[in-house]
Amino acid sequence: MAQSLAAQRLPAHASHRPIGSRIGMSLLYILLAIIAVIQVFPLIWLLFFSLKDNQEVFNLSPFALPTDPKWENYAKVWTEGNISQYFFNSVWYTVAAVVLTVLLASLVTFALTRMNWKLKKPVLGLFMVGIMIPIHSTLIPLFQMFMKINLTDHPLSIILTYTAFNLPLTIMILLGFYQTLPREVEEAAVMDGCSVNRIFFQIILPMTSSVIATTVIINMIYNWNEFVFVNTFISSDGLKTLTVGIQNFIGQYTTDWGAIGATLMISILPILIVFFILSNRIMEGMTAGSVKG
């Protein structure tokens, strides 16, 4: 069914428009361009910010380039402390938690929307409550729990916490998409004698690849920038993440803002790249995904 939908896809025809509509389109483009400039500004600002010293950070206009760019901020960030170790930790905690979260959330959402069982509603409710607790209420209980099972100062405490706290959100996003997927495909698959695993991994997962890309991006950003849990559960320097790089430049009485800017700039680059790659996947939409199934 989905395959036939894709086959019917017609070429886009944007040529026969009245003039009024063209003026409207031009206005729209101007508006879109203005928003684009606004949205790109933060990145440029951050770059400028990272090249300033404290005097300039406060004295110059935020969008002014310092007369003498302080590239040494980057050198400082790169040499002070353990940045390559932090970087490695950030990557692997993020990847592990994202994979685990998206996989588990997809399984749950599939069971909630596609399979037949009685406790669906209460179980969904249980997951949804998960987005409602302020994280600062959870710090002491979680720490004590991890302490009891000897998981403090252990990467698992971070990965499992990230997964648990992002699962509800991820499930909710997936839910909106799963509910709209046509049932014909899997009905046909069941008729063909496919197992549940096959239906899930081979039909549903590929069909939802665009929303998976969406949730991966969201999860990735959250995990990558998280620092409260890392600070609380991890005490060894060798297990900390890039976000401690920021703390490294916050002093008791003074803060090295330029170096913080450089750390922020360094830490945004990897997710910027991954984001650009993944966001192409969303573009393809469901139809492209379903063809593969």
Partner: protein, 292 residues
């Protein structure tokens, strides 16, 4: 069909791992928070059971209700802003040249951490050489607007970056949902002579209704327990003028060493979120529409 899709073992296998994680790492803290909320505890010494005293204090605490009011205002603003995000996503998902690039650019701010966003907006709001006041000065405006120091405007000033921070998140979700609509449905409407606006309102929006409902819940609950930028940019000040429930809870538990009371606030916040979510679901309850 029924048989395969009703396999109890498979259901358990699919649901239990995630459920176990959530129960252990979210529900245990929730239960303990509820428990601490019944205690007089500074988080250091011995606990003393005081029953519902913390809650009766909460009900009479005008500072708490002020923070709750602020959080609800934020929730209202966030929910309203969803309309703008949906509009942007609709435009981007349409036949726009360069939509692919625009979409990526639009989402860039969402990659920034709260620390970076806070610093950016502190510079924008700076009373003397901030972006806004410099702009106003160049337009001939002589007064100085103290964006983050004036108790009358600080709340509005802090809402703008918060809402802007999440723009990418919602645009991304809407965009992915819109892209998931089979092209054939849109084409069919077009062949029937529908203009882009009609297609948006009659075809696209109804088809992503379930996603929209989810975003409403996320925006409102997310706002009710919002913390990050407020903590960095104003710390709830001046004198509580920008305090929200989560920051109030943090201040009580971690600054005033009143962990029992802080826990009671945390638990109450959870209850508020539950009630609000239930209300939203009641209000938006309708049949789900599937592509077919």
């Amino acid at each position: 069909m029924d048989k395969v899709m009703s396999n109890k073992k498979m259901i358990a296998l699919y649901v239990l791992p995630a459920l176990a994680l959530v129960l252990a790492l979210i529900y245990v803290p929730i239960v303990l928070t509820g428990y601490y909320g019944l205690m007089k505890w500074d988080g250091i010494g011995a606990m003393e059971f005081i029953g519902l005293d913390n809650y009766s204090r909460l009900v009479q605490d005008s500072a708490f209700w002020q923070s709750a009011y602020h959080a609800f205002l934020l929730a209202a603003f966030s929910a309203l802003s969803l309309i703008a995000y949906l509009a942007i996503a609709l435009v981007l998902s349409g036949e726009i040249k360069g939509a692919n690039l625009l979409r990526k650019i639009y989402l860039i701010p969402m990659l920034l951490s709260s620390v970076a966003i806070a610093q950016l907006w502190l510079k924008i709001y700076h009373p003397t050489n901030g972006v806004i006041n410099s702009l106003l000065a160049s337009l001939g405006f002589t007064g100085t607007i103290e964006w983050l120091a004036d108790t009358k405007i600080v709340l509005l000033a802090i809402f703008i970056p918060i809402i802007w921070q999440y723009a990418g998140f919602y645009i991304l979700i809407y965009y992915a949902a819109l892209k998931n609509i089979p092209t054939s449905l849109v084409e069919a409407a077009r062949i029937d002579g529908a203009n882009p606006l009609q297609i948006a309102f009659r075809v696209k929006i109804p088809l992503i209704l379930s996603v929209t409902k989810v975003t409403i819940v996320l925006a409102i609950v997310g706002s009710l327990k919002y913390f990050d930028l407020i903590y960095v940019m104003t710390d709830g000040g001046p004198n509580g003028a920008s305090e929200v429930m989560a920051s109030y809870m943090y201040h009580q538990a971690f600054r005033s060493f009143d962990f029992g009371y802080g826990s009671a606030i945390g638990f109450f916040l959870l209850l508020i979120c539950l009630v609000v979510t239930w209300l939203i679901r009641k209000l938006t309850d309708s049949e789900e529409i599937q592509y077919s």
